[in-house]
Symmetry: C2
Subunit: 333 residues, 2 copies
Amino acid sequence: MFQGKQSWMFNSKPVIISSATAVGPFEGKGPLSNDFDIINEDIWLGQDSFEKAEKVLLEQACSKAIEKSNLKKEDISFFLSGDLMNQIITSSFAARTLSIPYLGVFGACSSAMEGLAVAAQLVDSSNANYVLAGAASHNASVEKQFRYPTEYGGQKPPTAQWTVTGAGAALIAKTGNGPKVTGATIGKVVDMGLTDPFNMGSAMAPAAVDTIEAHFRDFKRDINYYDLVITGDLGAVGHRIAGDLLIDHEIKIPEEKFADCGLLIYSEEQPIIAGASGCGCCATVTYGHLLKKISNREFNKILVIATGALLSPLSYQQKESIPCIAHAVAIEN
Amino acid sequence: MFQGKQSWMFNSKPVIISSATAVGPFEGKGPLSNDFDIINEDIWLGQDSFEKAEKVLLEQACSKAIEKSNLKKEDISFFLSGDLMNQIITSSFAARTLSIPYLGVFGACSSAMEGLAVAAQLVDSSNANYVLAGAASHNASVEKQFRYPTEYGGQKPPTAQWTVTGAGAALIAKTGNGPKVTGATIGKVVDMGLTDPFNMGSAMAPAAVDTIEAHFRDFKRDINYYDLVITGDLGAVGHRIAGDLLIDHEIKIPEEKFADCGLLIYSEEQPIIAGASGCGCCATVTYGHLLKKISNREFNKILVIATGALLSPLSYQQKESIPCIAHAVAIEN
């Protein structure tokens, strides 16, 4: 069977039989609002902390995805999820609610595609019938943990990105109707020495390019195979750098085929500076927006490269640079 | 093929072709000191922070495991690792050093067996040739993050456990010499409402029992199949509770076949209160001590159930209870 150096080809073509997204009010005012299943009007989601609100977002997305599939949660073999909270409490506490055997994953904002890749791999290898993959972030919980509480009103530089309040979940099965997960490429850690947590896009861009290059090499493909190659949350700054790096690496991707989830979810009127970020960014854009575009045949083959900055506030305080990673998943009709 | 409700049977019997452990000075004074590859005399490992010391421990274990296998790191398909630091920086920064495609996993102290289970699954399904699975913890970094800095000298209750300064790594391959990974059971989150981070063993015991029960059910086995059933880090208090719960659930495991890694690594003279804990506990005891006992045929079939408390300091501050999980891996000659 196929075994690329750092890639998996899923010959049985596992199906995304359902997916769901839940977002906050700010995301509900953006251009993709029609693509989301649940738009919460209350940024607290009725909870007394932003961390608990983030957990409810993930539970909403997971419950909705299960509901759409007409399965019971007892039918689902495994739940794979990750988030940005310390000790991924969002995912673990949602796993407590769901009561499905649980594998916690962590790749920072790349967690959505890490989960989807491993979920598809489990189904493809007949080690699971149904796997639920999720990821979530909440603007206020993430800003508070990684930078400053939003109430503090700190000024941000033009390279800063806006953490998405949102969660996405996808349910993968051996057979059924829906877009198919056909392959995945697992990233290496790439660290170019950047240290600024207000400039994640620049730090993550080389990791995205490294994984795109590995994917094309392992699958012996080029851009002609795909209708769209879309990164997770590089934002405006990182997207431009990734474009330049691709040219340096002699990988040709025409501008109209190269996009970033972090540049799609908000409108230009929304004050998000350099674009969106967070685990919920790639998760909601992929599971809400992109899967719809595949279902209606606007795209037939896409490659989603979720990017993650693997720092912690503590590693930053200890003057470490920011290790980054990107995991790519191919989704096709 | 076999597919238990929450278990995988590895028909190709992936082999642990090498493993290695690195520990701190305190562990080097314990009864298992001859089982560890590297005993560091300096708790700082020459670093200027305990977090960096923890990362070096993991790098030591990984490098040693690769060295023993006579492979080059370029031969290894994937590195799976987890730890207790926020955003698992120990694992991610070690992944930067190793430069092997990396899947971050998180199951708190169950991370070692989560990584080993998924690693064996990847090799068994022919989705990888060689996979390195690791886990680490450091007493001072973990105590500082979850409880108090050790320099503070806070008093601890008799239920408290001692976080192991140690890392373990195992290299899994399709063929070769060594103990075989024959199956795994992935746990559900179990939360009995306990809230005391100084009493993790009691919180985790029900999760361990839940996974043992699921394992025996999925594989249609009982204790007669195994020479030893060993939990990760329940300590004295949790071990006793687990024993009582097994009786309640009518699962018979004779006392001499039921052990806990957290009760093996230190001697009674060492002031560790209720036993050992931390990702490094199950990792060093399994990859150092237990694999040697399998190699010299003292045991032929063991089941290792790594237990994890999925709390964060923040979830504790928000008065949440402690969700727990346990993942079991069967290792056989």
